[in-house]
Assembly symmetry: C2
Homo-oligomer: 150 residues x 2
């Protein structure tokens, strides 16, 4: 997976959580020239970062405002909350949006029922459950009917 360099990508991105998803995004955005700061509570998580990653790493709990401040979140065009914890993602995303005025805030939400709460706070959410269900369904449908998907 690679991003297209000719597209316009955010200049400064803060990523919270350096798991599989966070580390993948950090590498992809570094490759297209974004400045990336990635935050994780565990220093060992940074081992997942690819060779393409050229940004900064911060060890700390992003739920603490000081940690977000150290990441210069007020300068960020975009914050991506990618931890495994819906609660952490919700809290960090709210602080980024309301306190640091980050224009674009995206959060991973495992529990689709919580997506409504996020939207009220002007936070975009991505749900792995819904995405996976959609991918499974698309694949089943193709095989059976051999029709293109709506």
């Amino acid at each position: 997976m690679h991003l297209k360099k000719q597209r316009e990508w955010p200049q400064y991105v803060v990523i919270v959580g350096c798991g599989r998803l966070g580390s993948l995004l950090a590498g992809l955005l570094s490759e297209v020239g974004s400045s990336v700061v990635i935050i994780d509570v565990n220093e060992s998580a940074f081992e997942l970062l690819s060779a393409e990653f050229s940004g900064f790493r911060i060890v700390g709990d992003a739920v603490e405002i000081e940690v977000l401040r150290a990441a210069k979140t007020d300068k960020a065009d975009c914050l991506l909350a990618t931890t495994e914890e819906d609660n952490v993602n919700l809290m960090v995303a709210q602080v980024a949006r309301k306190l640091f005025n980050v224009p674009k805030v995206l959060a991973r939400v495992f529990d689709p029922r919580r997506e409504k709460v996020y939207r009220e706070f002007d936070i975009e959410t991505v749900s792995p459950t819904n995405l996976m269900a959609q991918a499974f369904v698309t694949s089943i449908e193709k095989k059976q009917g051999d029709k293109s998907c709506a």
Copy 2:
């Protein structure tokens, strides 16, 4: 999320794992008339099933061939391995494909590096990490460049 009834869906589907993904798929496929059998090691997992679910529940470890046999996997048009464990999904998918000759086998794989192994066994895989990264990237790109995505 709903499936279109006028499309052709598999008649008989075995779903392994009744977590958020498995239970969601079970409900969606029941709604469009598929016969669904869902298997989970924990009986309490079936609480996630929606009111739309009209199929059978089997409590058992699908890694055991007898459990797949009890689910009449040999009659299935399709098996979906949706547990949280890549190893379980890989094993169940292989047995379904090779021993029970299920024509369509799909497995969730968290570790994208393992996808190659699955493909060698004629098993389709869906990786939440890649799907999520794609969804995040599409959203960032839209906002910044306001262009449609390739």
